[in-house]
Symmetry: C2
Amino acid sequence: MKKITLLSVAILSSLSFSSFAKDCAPNLLPSWKDGESKSAIVDFVGQATKAESDTFVAVQDRIAVFDNDGTLWSEKPYYSQLAFALDRVKEMAPEHPEWKTEAPFKFVLEGDIESALGSGEEGLLKIIMATHSGMTVEQYQQDVKQWLAVAKDERFNKAYTDLTYQPMKEMLTYLQDHDFKTYIVSGGGVDFMRAWAPQAYNIPPEQIIGSALKYNYSYNDGKSTVTKDSSILTIDDKAGKVTNIQHIIGKKPILAVGNSDGDQAMMQWATSQPNSMAMIVHHTDAEREWKYDRESHVGKLDNALDEASSRDDWTLIDMKSDWCEVY
Amino acid sequence: MKKITLLSVAILSSLSFSSFAKDCAPNLLPSWKDGESKSAIVDFVGQATKAESDTFVAVQDRIAVFDNDGTLWSEKPYYSQLAFALDRVKEMAPEHPEWKTEAPFKFVLEGDIESALGSGEEGLLKIIMATHSGMTVEQYQQDVKQWLAVAKDERFNKAYTDLTYQPMKEMLTYLQDHDFKTYIVSGGGVDFMRAWAPQAYNIPPEQIIGSALKYNYSYNDGKSTVTKDSSILTIDDKAGKVTNIQHIIGKKPILAVGNSDGDQAMMQWATSQPNSMAMIVHHTDAEREWKYDRESHVGKLDNALDEASSRDDWTLIDMKSDWCEVY
């Protein structure tokens, strides 16, 4: 995980006055403490953008992919998209009297979230399908936006979009300023993320890749409608992240950032070429955020943690010691 | 199909000297004859980019989608990708002695293309799977590039990439110069197109959507590989074009251009909103290219031709009378 920091020093020293405001401390990645992680980012960008160097990467190949849950915003105690789904079940309950006696819906309505989450993949899929399919994409995204405008997470009492990580947003901006095309590649639902992530991260909808339900298109009496089907189109996790990037972008990213074993394949693939890097957000800060890795049910980081320790081109971001601010 | 041409006149008259080189005749879409089609393009771009007008479209929403076969390059007598597949069968034959007696391969090897094509969807799928799956994406695209470097079409004795339409390439450039994000959305294979279309049309791989086989990812001994599977991931045709655009771009295009009934859904969807347009390349030029529409097996244009006649926001491009040059 060691990166040569000489280059970053050289770059900082050689900066002309005109570029000072953009690239130099204290304005350079201000929420990042000086150290290995920050240097890794600055070195990597410096190397990729240094013309006439053999580490130079053409603008068209500066593809950077970021996981979302646990990498760009908090994912504990459970994914925000699931919090949305649970709240939607409560809202939709009057139209579904049968839910009062039907698991897992009855658990949600009784406020017994533990039992609802304990209903396994099949139960969670029922909740997702009931709340994520059957409507138009526009209607669904309006539901998401309305929910985000009022919902607060339980621990911090903040809007979910305020639980995005300030240092990671600075990193995205820094990459975008250096002509990187930044993508989200997340296990979360693509339509869910597209409802808010463009504003939160300055990443347009067409650079958001996620899990998806199939879409149905209908055309009647001159009216075009795309609705969300109740069958799965793609699960964007593990090897699925690689194959979705291949399918949708058609290029191997040079930078992959994640926080769990679900991102390991994408990171291995990205770093199977020269002039590439992987970074892992390691949740080490129980006080300001959450502390978890190998034993966690959400965002389990185990094999990828071992791999990071053994590779020079993988860098662990230690949330507690590397970040001045979290949110 | 009538478009007001006053705006284009106004725009041309009001241009300052500095923008003359970019926007004015004879440099403005030089391969397009003055007339309804050219005016439709110029008017549409003028309206979308005119600040403070109620037809103005923000840069982020200037999404234009183009079919490829028959819209950006010739598709007769059969798709170029099929010509590639047939040539690959001949090249691969020594490794497959069983093909000498097995339909549809034996027809290809005997030079009986008519029987090979007559083997129906099942037969053609066998040819596609045999030539398009089992290898890495990189290897496949190298095969495509090598083929394109030497193959010639039978009628014009030109390289296939020289059968791209000059007027359409000018239209793409014109849109790109006005901050449109141009996409290919084609029934052709996405990996096939990505091997050459970026150079031919100045459209990057991530803006090419097509039919695709599933991808397999493997990681062994530190080596990452993405191979092409022999099962179908998506068929990018008819309603599939709409649902793929929804999935991959996440925005409704404001301009959709095609040439067949396979593009009709995409055009209907795009033009189900204000300030949008559809265009259809009508193959009317038997001498310089091909002449076909309602009765053609390849690129059948029937229902969409009727719809174009009845809608003001759909414009037919008459290849014979609208284009000074074809290739």
